[in-house]
């Protein structure tokens, strides 16, 4: 069956993130002038306003900052999976991202270490997710 959950929407800044994910790399944009590192990417640096932005591979390590269980399927693709878990992760490099955590443990705790895993959902798209480290 074809994948019928929402896919990433390419925009003018997020190409390297999704290209990296397809290769099994968690990519983050950073500022070559001041080092600020962020997700989602920006057009200029929010700290120093430099245009000189580049990408680097993140460690893939982070900590669990919160999580929820979605009991409503806003997209048909989730109808068979509710409730599903969505997590808030602070990456080692600083940015806070929303993702999924694949462990169904009931013992999640704030601050637990997590590490990235890659879910190739279609031939073209791989989505970075997390698992308890």
């Amino acid at each position: 069956m074809s994948y019928n959950k929402p896919l990433p929407r390419p925009d003018t800044t997020n190409g390297p993130f999704w290209a990296g994910a397809k290769q099994g790399k968690l990519m983050l944009q950073y500022c070559k002038a001041c080092g600020d590192t962020r997700f989602p990417p920006s057009h200029i640096c929010p700290k120093c306003l430099s245009s000189d932005q580049d990408w680097k591979e993140a460690s893939g390590k982070g900590t669990l900052q919160s999580w929820i269980e979605m009991h409503r399927a806003y997209w048909d693709g989730y109808k068979g999976e509710i409730p599903y878990r969505v997590a808030l992760i602070q990456l080692e490099e600083g940015p806070v991202v929303v993702s999924n955590i694949d462990n169904n443990s009931d013992n999640l705790r704030l601050g637990q270490p997590v590490t990235v895993v890659f879910d190739a959902v279609t031939d073209d798209v791989t989505i970075p997710k997390f698992t308890l480290a």
Binding site: L7, R9, I68, E69, M70, Y74, W75, Y84, V86, L110
Partner: protein, 376 residues
Amino acid sequence: MADLKDLKDKIAVIGVGNTKYGNFPEIDDYGLAAHAFRNAVEDCGIDKNQVDGMLVCRIPYYARMGEILGLNPKWTLTLPGHGRMSGMGIIEAAAAIDAGLCHTVALMYANIGRSRRVNYGGDENPGTWDPWGFTSPGAAHAMAFRRHMEMYGTTTRQLAEVSVAIRHHASLNPDAVMRRPFSIDDHEAARFIAAPLRLLDYCLINDGAVCLIVTTKERAKDFKKPPVMISGFGARETYSPSSIANFDMDFWYPAISDAGQQAYEMAGITNKDVDALMCYDNFSPTVLFTLEGLGFCGRGESGPWVENGALKIGGKLPVNTDGGHLSNSYMQGWALNVEAVRQLRGECGARQIPNCEVVQYAQSTPCTRSIIYTRG
């Protein structure tokens, strides 16, 4: 730049009006706003042609609105239909009047989300995190509340106190959409939408419209009802986590502390002087976050603080005496400002707070605002 304290008690709310709240497929947003405007005009007895400023929110086209009301004002502002514009709009109107751009502003808000089946998640509201299935403002508030539970030990039974107290107030308000009281146990038995939040932690979605008419202190004496003064206000945005919409890692604590402090200083009061709090309650956790930010309790201590009905009329701090967004009407803050006016006028019947002199409005959102209203 002028000191904001110079604006204390210079601008007054003279008229308020609203439509019925519910499901009205037979009318549109212009029609609802027009009825709210006419009710506000009748409330204060103003000649509508004295209105020389117009602020519209969640209304498609300001000029069509002016045409419908027969208004050609000197000042117009349109705000998007986001749930945080009421506090912003009232402050902007006060500033425009003080600057002399106009002298009397009608502020109108209309919502037809119920009859038109608006969804607040999924493809109607695309976001950065859709590929992970994270969508809807409720999910963002659930994410914040789980964090609060983990950090401070707050429980869903404590959270239930918010919805239970506000529904109790709605039961005293004949115009509220949802009036049947429920208990903490009922809250705990409600179905999850985005756990840890349940159905009864979510605001309503209903149709309706609200209008406030605001003018100078000097002009305010000429109308039917006693004026209600805008005594203080404060503001602080939190835009850094905007890709995670409706979410802040710190529960907007820095913003609401700042906005609240500005408002208290401008009004020359402290939170001990506040007789009632009208708190933006799109989801029940925001009430807890606001209580902490405004210093009614310590940081992280809102859970125990709200226990035993603290937010009910007669409790420590009556919150949302009209039933709020959770049970009265989802007017995105506008109806809460109207309720503040009505409490200060003593018009609230079974839900009236005795000797009500100071009412505070607060919205803990990416655009945090607080307004302090007092009797004229």
